[in-house]
Amino acid sequence: MSITTTDKNITTQVASSIEQRLKADATPQRLQALQTLNTLQLPTTKNEEYKHTPLTRLLEKNFTFANEISESTLRAEDLNSLLIDGLEADRIVFVNGKFNESLSSAKSSTSLKIVPLKEAIVSSDLARQHFGAYANFKEDAFTAWNTAEWLDGFFIHVDDNVVIDKPVIFYHINDTQAGEVRSSIRNLIVVGKNSEVTFIEKFDSIGSGNHLSTLVTEGVVHENAGLNYYTIQNDKGNRYQYGLMEFYQKNSSRVNTYTFTLDGKAVRNNLHLKLDGEGIESHMYGLYLLGGDTLADNHTVVDHKKPNSFSNELYKGIMDGNSKGVFNGKIYVRPDAQKTNAFQANRNVLLTDKATVNTKPQLEIWADDVKCSHGCTSGQIDEEAIFYLQARGISKETARAMMLYAFAGEVLDNIKHPALHAYIDKLVSERLHKNF
């Protein structure tokens, strides 16, 4: 393809930079993804899926898309403040998109194979079979971007019939002290039959520069296996992010996802669950507490393909300052998926006149014997309730905090892991100025 560096088109700029970065790594698949990126073009707000999320415009304004990958001198001490207290977990640390072995603690074993993805797609048939099978780069230009560019990431294979007690935690750290950072990570997860595993993603940064992450996590959850996936986005820095998490679920599998977005500049989370089996249970929980000029967009898709499965989605948001929340929840119930139970709720509280939320449920149901419901609300904090609490001697500040904490609590209550519950509860309590 011909690319000129003087071209102002952002997609061309990004594609050119990716091409420079790839060099010898330019596999046919990456080049195809790059081609797709050029064809699709990064989405503007004219694209229905990005109608309320000017991510492309924000990137255009704030990034130069340097070819070089920023170096980092991050040391173990720098990492300490970012770790989750009291959490015993196997740690995988990425700094500026590169795996940092000295800061990581996770070790590969027979029950839990952890192999660098680049290596796995050469050496493992299993990895090749699943890689790219779920996250379709033709659907979204950002996924194409990630597919073309990803620098690091892992193939994680949980063997059949094992329960992995310790969660695996990914720390995604962008160190902007030497300038703008752009990092792309790709993970592939295969959870074997009758197994159980928990993953955590935590996103942070060091320095005050702009930084951008693309992260695509895809995988399959086999028969009767359970996957818990926690995402903690509480980056105080200038984080811009695109994420896609897509899991393919087989008979009687269970997936629970928990997405907490508490800070960052602009965060887009795509979450896709494909329920291709019977007796499946999927829970998607989300909580976004936004302030300043943070933009957080959660786009979720639950695709019921077979009968007798259950999905439940609960996303709640509190928007303060000039922040903006976006929620889009698609539920597909295919013609074969009789006796599906699918529920969705998105509830929002706006604390200021300038904060906004755009919420849209999208249910497409082709089966006739199903139970589906959805509900979206957005409103202010209930002043009558505040007055009621004040009339009992509780200060207005405490009354507000009580109301907001109770609102968030409905999501927090579902966190099953005790140390994570304590950690996230603390983050949320601090954010809401809980003083009771």
């Binding site: 009621y388 004040q390 509780i394 109770a406």
Partner: protein, 251 residues
């Protein structure tokens, strides 16, 4: 204890209270009656500090302090309690947890130490008996899915917990069947003492069979147009409010 002088208040652009005068001493129970729209609930709301109402004139002195200057929570901490006509449902906040916060913020205001969990629970158990309320109800989200009677009983439970000097019961009898009315009234009567005072706002006389007032005032068009003893309530029950309206228009 409470001295209201020429109190005037409006909501939006509608003047509702047109000069209320009322003196209440410790140990007294005053009933405020009147036809719909006369300003009874407005008076209760203004005393509790509801922000939608704007006081346009007059004074309210509570135990030597200017009540109207205080935020709603300060009034509560000083000893004013409003039992709501329509108690609010608050999902996710249990009565127990919120009462613990309330009791301790009030104690802090009074210079007392916060209650520990054991003492709080002990106090709660005592007060629960008083108003015949079940703990399972108090563990639940505040008023969420409560019946009308349960909500009102919960109001009186909170009154028992906070031990106010002045309790204002705003239409506490509305929506109550006869059994619930008896339980709620019994609770209130047990809380009566020579040190506290109660204002009972009601449209009907039937509550006053249970909570017997020392004084009855009739509110009409934002003014107290007639005051008397409990016999006045009986007379209103028998004759309705029209004769009061006639008296006022003749005068």
């Amino acid at each position: 204890m409470l001295s209201i002088k020429n109190l005037q208040a409006k909501i939006d652009d509608k003047q509702i209270l047109n000069g209320i005068n009322l003196e209440i001493k410790p140990g007294e129970v005053h009933a405020i009656m009147g036809p719909n729209g006369s300003g009874k609930s407005t008076l209760a709301s203004v005393l509790a500090g509801r922000e939608e109402y704007e006081v346009t004139g007059g004074e309210v002195d509570f135990l030597g302090k200017d009540l109207l200057e205080m935020a709603p929570e300060e009034r509560a901490r000083e000893g004013v309690f409003l039992a709501f006509q329509y108690p609010v449902e608050i999902p996710g906040v249990s009565t127990i947890n919120f009462m613990k916060t309330a009791v301790n913020q009030i104690r802090e205001h009074r210079g007392q130490q916060a209650l520990d969990a054991v003492s709080f629970l002990q106090m709660m158990k005592e007060k629960m008996k008083l108003v015949e309320i079940d703990q399972s109800l108090l563990n639940r989200a505040l008023n969420e899915g409560f019946s009308g009677g349960e909500k009102k009983r919960n109001e009186i439970f909170q009154m028992a917990m906070l031990e106010p000097k002045l309790a204002i019961l705003d239409e506490t009898d509305s929506g109550l069947d006869i059994d619930a009315l008896r339980i709620v009234s019994n609770g209130v009567n047990k809380l009566r003492s020579k040190n506290n005072a109660i204002i009972v706002v009601t449209h009907y006389q039937r509550l006053l069979n249970y909570i017997v007032p020392d004084y009855v005032h009739v509110l009409y068009k934002g003014k107290i147009v007639k005051s008397g003893t409990k016999e006045l309530a009986l007379e209103l029950e028998a004759k309705g409010y029209d004769w009061i309206k006639d008296e006022v228009s003749v005068a």
